[in-house]
């Protein structure tokens, strides 16, 4: 989804498009709804969990309808590649009475978005484009049409003379109109070009939609069969008559859809009257899983099993052999980038926690720092897997744990998440004087999704200045008195503030500030600056491993041959030196602060960790 934002970011100035990254999805949906009502076409893009955030406004919008074309692109994430839950957002469309189009590839996605605006205007409704990770994160050649854009001319909300208000008796009237609208949409969907039937007439059929359609097409070709396939592109409201007509002559149908049995249950209901003997293979029959994503092998195996076919493709064997070969591999879990401010913050925090680890509850949140959870073993002192729910949930959950339990509660939240969903929680904390330590990890941008600017960055698309919201001013305004701002790269000097905070009672906030490394690198590149990496002088390294202990920088590894160093006091230091890759080092220098044998304030030849002789270019793919 962030790539949609990034692309609009690049074109918004040239194309007379107004583009904003709203502080959260609910605000975004309200903006595009308002813009549509005000007389302009508008679009919002969000992922499954973002739709949860937007849902309050979303349902009302079904009742009120819209004016100019209004489209919402949303993305479900089968396999939870980057989400906290594996949700099936198709139910939102049905529940909210919205038309939903599901593209099966990027070419169809482009066509559908164009049509979605037309449908939206004809039916005066928000139209949903439902995608999944594998639809979004793929590239192919997409033929383009000429752009027919008109200059921006302000609409007139007054002149449309319409009400977009729903409550009580008005809502009851709107609901009956909404149901009629749904029926008209269903009628239209019966003839939609996005519902495609292919294959040879037989008594076997496959119904599918979205990315699964592609897996079906390749699987049947591999199996040398040509069954009837109904690919559905308008999955809400479902073209019931089309589906019934498809089902009627069949003996069996295989339903191929990722996640919940959304289509399958409808197909079951529809077949009851017209073909009660129909055998339906899908999730309830145990052939497909409601979890994880599909691929050609999964789909092929089910079709083969159901139709009792033989095939030379033994995917299970391939996986078995591969797993055996791979058994020697170490795990590689994503970690903070070299130069990441979070690494410095959590090093200092672990130092401050010391042996109080058992008297601590740690409430995590959504952002790059969520990765602590994946690395719970190496950050075990912090218990980063204690609790993680949803964006901004750290604050309420921390308040609850502190009310109920004796541990000192530590809550972390990033700057974007703070703006997104942290503010109501923080007001509650201040108002109720909750006994929690909050660490706001302020890296100036929305780092995890590609370093988009947020309310605290101070600029918007094309670097245009924007009103910068200072987190400390917000918190002071809310009445937080125990508030410290740390420069997280000055790692050692951050420890006292963390220690004090852990001793305090009442709400305490530490803003741990330092720019996102990737964002900072990009800024450096645009200023023509280079990166000054560090290196370990292994002639004098004491092999104490302090630079690796609790720091976990991907640029630092341990040498594989042991060496000895005889110091000026006649002491011999033996073992494996640490090693900094000058290719990977981002030059934050924090490891040289941690090194007990480096004086980072008065650097000299005697230091173990020294600046490397040659600065290096910033990678051009950042």
């Amino acid at each position: 989804m962030s790539e949609i934002l990034d692309t609009f970011y690049q074109i918004s100035d040239k194309m007379d498009v107004r583009m904003e990254i709203a502080s959260n999805e609910k605000v975004a949906l309200e903006i595009v709804a308002g813009a549509s009502m005000g007389g302009q076409r508008s679009l919002t893009a969000l992922k499954s969990v973002g739709l949860n955030v937007a849902s309050d406004t979303f349902f009302s919008l079904g009742y009120t309808g819209v004016n100019k074309g209004c489209v919402m692109v949303f993305a479900d994430d089968p396999y939870c590649h980057s989400s906290q839950t594996e949700e099936d957002g198709r139910f939102f469309a049905e529940y909210g009475y919205f038309p939903m189009l599901e593209p099966s590839d990027p070419v169809e996605a482009k066509e559908m978005v164009k049509d979605a605006f037309e449908i939206s205007e004809r039916f005066q409704t928000l139209v949903l484009i439902r995608t999944t990770t594998r639809i979004n994160h793929q590239s192919t050649v997409v033929p383009l049409d000429p752009l027919n854009r008109t200059r921006f001319i302000p609409g007139s909300f007054r002149s449309y003379n319409r009400s977009y208000a729903t409550v009580g008796s008005r809502a009851r009237e709107l609901k009956s109109e909404l149901l009629k609208k749904r029926d008209r949409l269903q009628e239209e969907n019966e003839n939609s070009k996005y519902n495609i039937i292919s294959g040879e007439t037989s008594d076997i059929g496959i119904i599918t939609s979205g990315v699964s359609y592609n897996y079906v097409l390749e699987a049947v070709r591999k199996l040398n069969i040509n069954p009837l396939i109904l690919k559905l592109g308008t999955t809400n409201p479902l073209p019931n008559n089309l589906v019934k007509k498809f089902l009627k002559p069949l003996k069996c149908v295989i339903v191929v859809e990722e996640l919940s049995p959304f289509l399958e249950n409808k197909i079951k209901a529809l077949s009851k009257d017209i073909n009660p003997q129909l055998q339906i293979f899908g999730k309830e029959s145990g052939h497909f899983s409601e979890a994880n994503e599909y691929n050609i092998p999964i789909v092929l195996n089910v079709i083969r099993e159901v139709l009792n076919l033989s095939s030379e493709h033994d995917y299970d064997k391939i996986l078995r052999v591969a797993n055996e070969l791979k058994s020697i591999l170490p795990i590689r879990i994503p970690v903070f980038c070299p130069g990441c401010p979070h690494r410095a913050t959590f090093w200092a925090l672990q130092r401050a926690v010391g042996n109080k680890t058992d008297k601590l509850a740690f409430i995590n949140d959504i952002g790059c720092y969520s990765m602590l959870l994946l690395n719970a073993k190496i950050y075990s002192k912090l218990h980063p897997d204690d609790l993680l729910l949803a964006m901004g949930a750290t604050i309420g959950a921390a308040s609850g744990v502190s009310l109920a339990s004796e541990e000192k509660v530590l809550s972390i939240i990033g700057d974007s998440t703070f703006f997104h969903a942290g503010l109501p929680g923080m007001i509650n904390v201040s108002n109720n004087n909750e006994n929690v330590v909050f660490i706001v990890l302020d890296n100036s941008v929305t780092a995890m999704t590609g370093q988009q600017p947020n309310a605290g960055t101070g600029y918007g698309p094309s670097g245009k200045p924007k009103h910068k919201i200072q987190i400390e001013n917000v918190l002071k305004g809310m009445g937080f008195e125990n508030l410290v701002i740390n420069d997280c790269f000055d790692a050692k000097n951050c420890i006292p503030a963390f220690k004090n905070a852990l001793e305090n009672s009442g709400p305490t906030v530490i803003i741990s500030r330092g720019p996102c490394a990737l964002w900072n690198d990009r800024n450096k590149r645009s200023r023509g600056e280079k990166i000054q990496p560090f290196f370990v002088d292994n002639e004098i390294c004491r092999k104490c491993h302090t630079c690796m202990l609790d720091f976990y920088c991907p640029a630092i590894s341990m040498e594989t041959t042991d060496t000895e160093y005889l110091d000026e006091n006649g002491k011999t230091w033996k073992g494996y030196s640490s090693h900094i890759s000058t290719e990977l080092c981002d030059g934050c220098g924090v490891c040289s602060i941690l090194c007990p044998y480096t004086d980072h304030e008065n650097r000299s030849e005697k230091d173990v960790i020294k600046p490397f002789s040659k600065a290096r270019e910033v990678r051009h793919d950042l």
């Binding site: 793929q138 391939i318 070969l325 170490p330 073992g575």
Partner: protein, 199 residues
């Protein structure tokens, strides 16, 4: 005919650039192509891959197991990690490079008797499924090209020499100036040739 390439490595090694060059070349010369990329939490320093599929019959963005003609590996551990995608006796083009995960370093800090996995251990496993393994020291070769950041294009050059690869060397090379920054064009073109001549 479908031609499948899987690229693998560690986040930040420039895999996206490789699939962009291949993808844009296919678009330019009218070949049907579909690519899929890793999507995860922060991808830096994590395991990443792209699926690249070329051919008229391609629909799925994902390569089925056992059907990649080539595994193009920027890093050894992460190339073996996707070995199930390789065709029987398919080609592996591998950068002679191993990037030890932080988790392994953590294990060694706790117990210095623990050893890192070695490049040769990985090659031995790969040899059990194919004998067409081309090993290139892309970092050294990139230095020869004049820019240490061109290791990815070294491997792309090598790929262009593999029998059956559906894009000609010149077509692929001509796309490079459109994709890399101006000041890096010369080094990348040189890197491409160096890689091409290594196979």
């Amino acid at each position: 005919m479908t031609y499948n390439i899987m690229t693998c490595g560690v986040g930040g090694q420039g895999l996206m650039l490789v699939s962009n060059i291949i993808g844009l070349t296919c678009a330019e010369y009218g070949l049907n192509i579909r690519t899929a990329e890793t999507h995860g939490l922060a991808q830096r320093s994590g395991s990443i891959y792209t699926h690249i599929r070329i051919g008229d019959d391609v629909f799925s963005p994902l390569i089925p197991y056992g059907e990649a003609d080539v595994l193009l590996g920027m890093e050894a551990i992460e190339t073996l990690r996707y070995i199930e995608f390789l065709k029987p006796n398919g080609v592996i083009i591998l950068n002679e490079y191993i990037w030890q995960p932080v988790q392994s370093t953590f294990d060694r800090v706790i117990d210095s008797e623990v050893k890192y996995i070695e490049f040769q251990d990985i090659i031995e496993k790969m040899k059990m499924v194919t004998n067409r393994i081309f090993i290139l020291n892309a970092s050294d070769l990139a230095l020869k090209a004049g820019n240490p950041l061109t290791s990815n294009v070294i491997l792309l050059g090598a790929l262009s020499k593999i029998e059956g690869f559906p894009i000609s060397k010149d077509q692929l090379k001509s796309m490079i100036p459109n994709v890399v920054p101006n000041k890096a064009i010369d080094a990348n073109l040189k890197a491409f040739d160096i890689g091409h001549n290594m196979i």
